[in-house]
């Protein structure tokens, strides 16, 4: 593999010293990202397991807790995230074609949608605080689930909180990529960082696609 033809001159500048050629570097970066996402699956998987365990134990409390969440805001947020995945895909597409301005604009749009998501999420958290639904802080819930609903809300805050943290990291990541794109660090031949941050962004959206029905909709079909 390493005895392949010498790397292209414009690609040489982005090849790190430890790699033999750009192709090897690209493959390594992709594999690295997928391995990282496998780690992320296990990270959220731990919480999903706990959620499944308690939901089968306390179906009533989970349904009642779920009914106190704002489905409309959750649905809007789902739409916002799907839209942001779309603009992210557009950014990657623009990178493939080497359109620098388009990359930056699409990334900015994606970041904006991410921020909107976080804004709505913060408002929801605020609502929960006002309604005394924050576990360990001011929690109170109507009978008969005054005890066990707290577990539902513990999961709600732990899972959406972890997701929001991933969103924040994603937005920072996209900001860095956008800056690099503006400085012309990417070309139609080399845009791996744009692709990989896109992969991450889609993953974080995907987590929400699981969170939304599990948290917001469980009560509705009981």
């Amino acid at each position: 593999m390493s005895s392949a033809s010498p790397p292209m001159p414009d690609a040489l500048s982005v090849r790190a010293h430890q790699f033999e050629n750009v192709e090897q570097q690209h493959e390594a970066s992709w594999l690295g990202m997928w391995v990282f996402l496998a780690t992320e699956v296990m990270f959220f998987g731990g919480m999903f397991t706990g959620y499944a365990f308690y939901r089968s134990g306390y179906p009533g409390a989970f349904a009642a807790g779920s009914n106190r969440l704002d489905v409309l805001l959750g649905a809007i947020n789902t739409a916002v995230l799907i839209a942001s995945s779309f603009t992210m895909a557009l950014a990657v597409h623009a990178a493939q074609q080497g359109r620098r301005r388009a990359i930056v604009n699409c990334l900015l749009l994606t970041m904006l949608l991410g921020t909107v998501f976080l804004g709505i999420k913060s408002y929801e958290y605020y609502e929960k605080f006002v309604e005394h639904l924050v576990p360990g802080w001011n929690f109170s819930f109507e009978a008969p689930f005054e005890r066990t609903a707290e577990i539902f809300f513990s999961f709600y805050f732990a899972m959406t909180g972890m997701h929001a943290l991933h969103m924040i990291i994603g937005i920072v990541l996209l900001a860095v990529i956008a800056l690099k794109a503006r400085r012309g660090r990417f070309s139609a031949e080399y845009y791996t960082p744009v692709e990989l941050s896109g992969l991450y962004w889609h993953f974080v959206d995907l987590v929400w696609i699981f969170l939304f029905p599990l948290l917001y909709l469980v009560g509705r079909h009981l």
Partner: protein, 543 residues
């Protein structure tokens, strides 16, 4: 001219910055070596205090609260900050690129970041120790850890949480490097078995570590913000914590032993000058251990109130995970047959490893067997068992590996006679420390006991006496290895006459490991051929 190469990775640059900002995997290995050694002796101090306290049945050296902090700090430090990182992060970092003929790991900056993350996590834990310690045991069982303990649980679990990311990123780096950066001709079945072991370990790193991370984070959130996921008063189930905890922490045992097994294969082959018998079986048994290892966590919970059927399934699977380990032991032993065996210090550690690991593994069968486990669970039998694996296995192999590759890392050879004596002292001290604990356990002495009934004293005194011998065995290498940095004999590229790519470059190696990337034409351990027949240099693309 002292015979060392003119320029190598240690003398290209001096000064603290050239170390703290290095991306050279070999220098990062040194950073890890330094930090895990500090943690090893830090954890060792607590082990010493534990053994002194247990000299007498009455709890007369320290208060019970203090004793509980001792064994917790000992466990946390040794497990998370020594055993888990030691072999992968020190030897793995140094050797993986060299063994596969690469110039560095795939992501050198990520590698450096992993070390910083490790150190930051370690500082959190040290801060917890300095602030007064933590007393939950390294297992952090809820609800004691989440509600009842009055010590610095949150600080400690945050430290472990952070350190977990160091493991994840290291594993990620190894997996990508092993997949994508092997020298031409170096197919999977030509890889050294150490690489197979590190690969299997990395799988556990990336799939297991995130689970412990989130679990400990939930305990931390429960303490800091009053979340109620493990709180029985709110309907939470403390046993769920145990499931999540052991889902990682049992595979973590294999994180500690798999790289040691990899080192063992290298040592046996090098000092018997022979191919490892049944190479494929040894290689695949590593993967089998990594995979089955994820399915046996429930054997830590036979008496914890899980259902009888769950207990039986976990018992069956636990017996199955013993088989790949047995295969390895038989193959190592068979490798010795018709070898050309020398008794250098690394080989003494390697032979000691087989013996002690065999005892550790066989006593594991006692624990997999539910009927017997009910009796010996949470007694000193368990303590003895896992110290045979962790100390008799992992640390023996780690020390053997450090001695074996020391000439490569430093360019100099340690003093052989004193190293052999140290290896014997470790072996004897270890057995005297931990064998009596098997007996103690079967007689019923529970673990984590500050005071104990007087009939157990004789065995405890034996154990403490062994521990002081063991301490000498561990201090000796510290002294003579440091001594050899300056006064050791110059080693040359391949002092052991070993195969393996790492021996085909000068000691210490140049920063980019190889002047040209070699072409590999035969399997690892081709002792029937000359190295020049196996590795062709100078045919690769650019230098």
């Amino acid at each position: 001219m002292n015979g060392l190469p003119r320029e190598h990775y240690l003398n290209v640059d001096y000064g603290i910055r050239s170390w703290l900002f290095t991306t050279d995997h070999k220098r990062i290995a040194w950073l890890y070596l330094l930090s895990v050694t500090v943690f090893f002796f830090f954890g060792g101090i607590f082990a010493t205090l534990i053994r002194i306290e247990l000299l007498t049945p009455q709890g007369d050296l320290v208060q019970a609260e203090t004793y509980n902090k001792f064994f917790t700090m000992h466990g946390v430090t040794m497990v998370f900050f020594f055993l888990i990182p030691a072999t992968p992060a020190v030897l793995g970092n140094f050797l993986v690129p060299m063994m596969i003929g690469a110039r560095d790991l795939a992501f050198p900056r990520l590698n450096l970041a992993s070390w910083y993350i490790f150190v930051i996590g370690g500082l959190f834990t040290l801060a917890a120790a300095a602030a007064g310690g933590v007393d939950t045991g390294w297992t952090f069982y809820t609800p004691y850890s989440s509600i009842y303990s009055n010590t610095h649980v949150a600080l400690t679990v945050v430290g472990i949480f952070i350190t977990g990311f160091s493991s994840i990123l290291t594993g990620l780096n190894f997996i990508v490097t092993i997949h994508k950066m092997r020298a031409p001709g170096l197919t999977w079945f030509r890889l050294p078995l150490f690489i197979w072991a590190i690969y299997a370990t990395s799988i556990i790193f990336i799939l297991g570590t995130p689970v412990i991370a989130i679990t400990l984070l939930l305990v931390g959130l429960e303490r800091l913000f009053g979340l109620g996921i493990f709180d029985p008063a709110r309907g939470g189930d403390p046993v769920l914590f145990q499931h999540l905890f052991w889902f990682y922490s049992h595979p973590a045992v294999y994180i500690m032993i798999l790289p040691a097994m990899g080192v063992e294969s290298e040592l046996i082959a090098a000092f018997a000058r022979k191919r490892v018998f049944g190479y494929e079986f040894v290689a695949f048994s590593s993967l089998a251990i990594a995979v089955i290892g994820f399915l046996v966590w429930g054997h830590h919970m036979f008496v914890a109130g899980q259902s009888v059927h769950a207990g039986l399934i976990f018992s069956l699977l636990s017996f199955l995970v013993a088989i790949p380990s047995a295969i390895k032991v038989f193959n190592w032993t068979a490798t010795l047959h018709r070898g050309a065996i020398s008794y250098d210090a690394p080989m003494l550690y390697a032979l000691g490893f087989i013996g002690l690991f065999t005892i550790g593994g066989l006593t594991g069968l006692f624990l997999a067997s539910v009927g017997v486990d009910v009796h010996v669970h949470d007694t000193y039998f368990i303590i003895a068992h896992f110290h045979y694996i962790m100390v008799g296995g992992s640390i023996m192999a780690y020390l053997g590996g450090i001695h074996f590759w020391w000439p490569k890392m430093t360019g100099r050879i340690y003093p052989e006679p004193v190293a052999r004596v140290a290896a014997l002292i470790v072996f004897l001290g270890f057995n005297l420390t931990f064998f009596p604990q098997f007996v103690l356990g079967y007689l019923g002495m529970p673990r984590r006991y500050h005071a104990y009934p007087p009939e157990f004293q004789v065995l405890n005194v034996m154990s403490s006496a062994g521990a002081s011998i063991l301490a000498v065995g561990y201090l000796l290498p510290l002294l003579y290895l440091i001594w050899s940095l300056r006064y050791g004999r110059v080693a040359g590229a391949n002092p052991w006459g070993a195969r393996g790519l790492e021996w085909q470059t000068p000691s210490p190696p140049p920063t980019h490991n190889f002047d040209t990337i070699p072409l590999v034409t035969d399997a690892a351990y081709a002792y029937d051929k000359e190295p020049e027949e196996v590795y062709e240099f100078g045919k690769s693309s650019h230098a």
